[in-house]
Every structure is written in structure tokens, then in C-alpha cells.
């Protein structure tokens, strides 16, 4: 199994990787962890090894260092360092369905198609987001708040982006190793989502204010 982890900074990522591997992988039966990409090195087993309480030992194999940490089912094998590089996070598209149920079925089709692709992940549980957000809020401390233009229940309260026939919206969020991977996944996902009960495919562009990359759906599918 391969896992891509994303964070807002390399420092934060290093902290999270170590914490999560320690909590979720070290603890799992028969597991081992290896670095899957080349890039700026961060600690992986370098500090986790101390769990071995002095009984850990390292092996350098093929120029890479690994730690053998004794655990109750044998040994946990972990690479000393993991690679980090800049990626593209937050690529998205919205599926507007006649009903929430129809939109959900379409979103599940999109998720299944995207999950087969290399170099991308869908960072939210199940790959589907119901609480899409907009930048800013009426509350000063909030940097993001509900995407009111796509909330069916606010149709008469705010300037809506929903067509009359839309009854529910789901968002697919994509993180990838690069722009090309995210674009490809977006195209594959949109194509898979289109089907009965889908009224429109859109995307959150946040007025073009958020992030460096702008992925236009129409050229992507032509």
C-alpha cells in the first residue's frame, strides 16, 4: 500500500509523518514503512527507532538506511528518511445533482475512477466532501466558511450558484504530486461522474484568489 501525505509546510509535514507513522503504522500488525519518493529528506525512522529502547539496530542496504525495531510480533522495519517535495493540493470539482442521492452516486463513481490513478490522493474521508467552503466569513476568526452559494437550503437567502433543478452538491478534492497529475485526475473524475441525475459539473475557484494554479475544466475535457 502506498500513501501520499500533504501538509502546508515541510516542517509541519515532518512532524505529522513521524507522529502518524508512530501511531498508526508502527502499531499495525506485520507493517513496515519505506520512502516512496525522492526529495528533500525528513525523518521517518530516525526518531521512531528510539521506541526500540536500545534494542533497535540499523542496516544500510543499497545506500539507504533502515531501522529494525523489535515489536511483539517480530520486527518493525522502517526507513530512516522519507522524501518530501512540493505538490499541488486542493484541486477540486463540484457535482451538482438533481438530488443529494444522485450527486452522491455520481461522486462515488468519480472517486472509484480517481483512486485507480497514480500520484494523486483524495484527502477527505471516502474522497467526497459535503462541506465545501468559501474564503472568509462574517466572523473575523474564521478564514473559511460554508460555501453558501452551493447550499440548497440557502437558495433564497444568498446569491445562489445552483440551478433550479439542483438539489444537492458534493465536492471532490484532489491532492497530487504535480499539476499534471491533478489535472488528469480531475478529467477522469469529471467524466466518471457524468451520468443520470447530474445537472452540472462546476468547481470552486474562490475568485481566483486561492493558490497558484487554476485548472479550467472545459479545456481539460476537450
Amino acid at each position: 500500500m502506498s500513501v501520499l501525505l500533504f501538509a502546508v509546510s515541510g516542517k509541519e509535514l515532518a512532524r505529522q509523518v513521524e507522529r502518524r507513522v508512530g501511531q498508526c503504522v508502527l502499531t499495525a500488525p506485520t507493517s513496515a514503512v519505506f520512502s516512496g519518493i525522492e526529495g528533500e529528506p525528513i525523518s521517518l525512522g530516525k526518531n521512531l527507532r528510539f521506541f526500540g529502547d536500545g534494542y533497535q539496530n540499523s542496516k544500510v542496504i543499497g545506500g539507504r538506511r533502515y531501522w529494525r525495531i523489535p515489536v511483539m510480533d517480530g520486527e518493525f522495519l522502517v526507513e530512516d528518511r522519507a522524501g518530501v517535495r512540493k505538490g499541488v493540493a486542493g484541486g477540486n470539482f463540484l457535482i451538482l445533482g438533481e438530488t443529494a442521492g444522485a450527486a452522491l452516486i455520481a461522486a462515488e463513481r468519480a472517486v472509484e475512477a480517481i483512486q485507480a490513478l497514480p500520484g494523486v490522493i483524495l484527502p477527505f474521508p471516502g474522497g467526497i466532501v459535503r462541506s465545501g467552503s468559501k474564503v472568509g466569513s462574517k466572523y473575523k476568526k474564521m478564514i473559511a466558511s460554508t460555501n453558501s452559494a452551493y447550499c440548497p437550503t440557502l437558495r433564497r437567502s444568498v446569491t445562489t450558484a445552483l440551478p433550479e433543478e439542483a438539489g444537492g452538491v458534493y465536492e471532490i478534492v484532489i491532492d497530487g504530486l504535480g499539476l499534471a497529475e491533478v489535472e488528469r485526475a480531475t478529467a477522469v473524475g469529471v467524466r466518471a461522474a457524468c451520468g443520470p441525475g447530474v445537472v452540472r459539473i462546476s468547481a470552486g475557484n474562490y475568485g481566483g484568489k486561492l493558490g497558484k494554479h487554476l485548472i479550467r475544466l472545459r479545456p481539460l475535457l476537450q
Binding site: 542496504i61 529494525r68 520486527e75
Partner: protein, 274 residues
């Protein structure tokens, strides 16, 4: 693209005994063929010239091929830091002594003390190796310290003495006394590991795929699987060596010791191969 520099031993030089330290691709690179032929070799007065002993062809560069019975040539590849040196034929004592980079490939057997004091690079011996493979340099407290040695045949006694780091793979059997006083590192023997292996070892790993009889100062710590071995096995197969068919499927009995010393070393033996 030019052909690599090739030195073929002349028939009249057969049986000559000489210290061949310095006969390295990195030393000859940048010289003309004529300059190579005029280089003296060996130590002391009256040293022969390379052109007297070898027929020289090709152009100096990062690769150097030596061809002939070089069993009288000591310290071939000694101190090598980069490039590729290929010996087509048997090599004399102390081949690859103190090498710290590059690749030394011996297309035949190697004599005693090959890879002594090695600090990096790759030493590959297609045939058998003599006694004291990867031993410490005279007067040094540690043996091999980084790098890799692959011997496709068997090795003589007292290999990997006081090894500090690095990896050694033996394609067939290791004679008695391997890895005595080992400090760390890995020795993998695809055949049988001889008697007395690992005496006084502090840390490190010996893998005996063809079985071994550990000394009484090694305690049987039970059998389990060791995922790190798979990483070695991939490298070994990539190097062209065939593993015993049971190497991957077997559970390994772990013997920890030497308990008369630090006791953090291990000898791993596949179940059923003891």
C-alpha cells in the same frame, strides 16, 4: 567512444611477484598510452615499466582492464576511490586493500586478505577468495568499514574479522572463524557458515542460508521472520547470485551473542538448514 584502457600481461611476466599498488584507473586517467607504458610499477630500485609487463591497448579513462595471471600482483586496486577496475584472471594478495570507492571486479579467484581495511566501494570476486577476506589493515582495530563485497565462490578462514560496517555476501561456503570480533555490519553466506563464526562479536548480523552450528556463547532466541532480509535478497539477486529456494519462505532461527562480549550480535539460520 574510445575503448577502455586494457593491459594484457606479457607471457614473460607470468609468475612475477610485485606490489601493484597505484595501478588504478583514476591514476592513469589523463595520461597518454605512451605515458602509461613508461610508468614504473612496484617498489624499490630497478622497477619495471608497465610496458615491459603488459601489452597496452585502449585509452585511459574511468575504466581499466587487467588481463592475465595476476596471482603474483599484490594490492591490486588498493586505495581505489572511483572508476572501475576489472581483473580478468586470478588476483594476488590484498586486492582492494583500503579501497573507499569505485568498483573492483575480479573475474577469477582472489588470494588472501582481499578487501582488507575496505572503507567503501564494491569489490566483486567471481571465484573463490582466500583467507582473511575484509580483515583489518595491519595494526588497525577495525576491519571493513563501509562498502560491499560479493564473492561468488567460497571464502577461506577468518573472513570479516572485526568488521565495523558494510555488507559481505558469500555465494558458497565460509570457512571457520568468520566475523570474529565483529562490531557491526552484515555477512550473508548463501552456503554453509563454518565453525566458530561470530566469536566475540558485539553487534552485527550473520546470515547462514546453508546452515551453521553456532558456538555455545550464542543463545537460541527462537524463530521468526525478518522483513529486512528481503531487501538484501533483492540486492543479491540483482547482482546475479541465485538464492537457495527456501531463503524467502523460511522462518529464521535467531541466535544472539556472543554473550561473553556485548551479546548484541545475531546469527540467522533458516529453519531446517541447521
Amino acid at each position: 567512444m574510445s575503448a577502455p584502457l586494457r593491459l594484457k600481461l606479457r607471457p614473460k611476466a607470468d609468475g612475477i611477484a610485485i606490489d601493484a599498488e597505484g595501478l588504478l584507473p583514476e591514476r592513469l586517467a589523463g595520461l597518454s598510452r605512451g605515458e602509461v607504458e613508461r610508468l614504473p610499477i612496484g617498489t624499490g630500485g630497478g622497477r619495471p615499466l608497465l610496458g615491459d609487463l603488459f601489452a597496452v591497448s585502449g585509452d585511459p579513462g574511468e575504466s581499466l582492464d587487467l588481463e592475465g595471471d595476476l596471482s603474483g600482483f599484490a594490492r591490486l586496486g588498493a586505495g581505489m576511490t572511483r572508476g572501475r577496475l576489472t581483473l580478468v584472471g586470478p588476483a594476488g594478495p590484498c586486492a582492494g586493500s583500503g579501497m573507499c570507492g569505485g568498483e573492483l571486479c575480479i573475474e577469477g579467484p582472489a588470494s588472501d586478505r582481499a578487501g582488507e581495511g575496505m572503507r567503501g566501494g564494491l569489490l566483486r570476486i567471481r571465484g573463490d577468495a582466500g583467507d582473511q577476506l575484509a580483515s583489518p589493515l595491519p595494526g588497525h582495530p577495525h576491519g571493513m568499514n563501509r562498502g560491499a563485497i560479493i564473492v561468488e565462490g567460497s571464502v577461506g578462514t577468518m573472513s570479516a574479522t572485526r568488521m565495523r560496517r558494510g555488507t559481505i555476501v558469500i555465494g558458497r561456503d565460509a570457512a571457520p572463524g568468520a566475523a570474529c570480533g565483529m562490531l557491526s555490519g552484515t555477512l550473508i553466506v548463501l552456503g554453509r557458515l563454518g565453525e566458530g563464526a561470530g566469536a566475540l562479536m558485539r553487534r552485527g548480523t550473520l546470515v547462514a542460508l546453508g546452515g551453521a552450528r553456532p558456538l555455545p556463547v550464542f543463545l537460541d532466541a527462537g524463530a521468526c521472520r525478518h522483513p529486512f532480509l528481503e531487501l538484501y535478497y533483492r540486492q543479491i539477486e540483482a547482482a546475479g547470485l541465485a538464492l537457495p529456494p527456501t531463503a524467502r519462505a523460511a522462518r529464521y532461527r535467531r541466535h544472539v551473542g556472543d554473550i561473553s562480549d556485548l551479546g548484541q550480535g545475531e546469527i540467522l539460520i533458516p529453519e531446517g538448514a541447521e
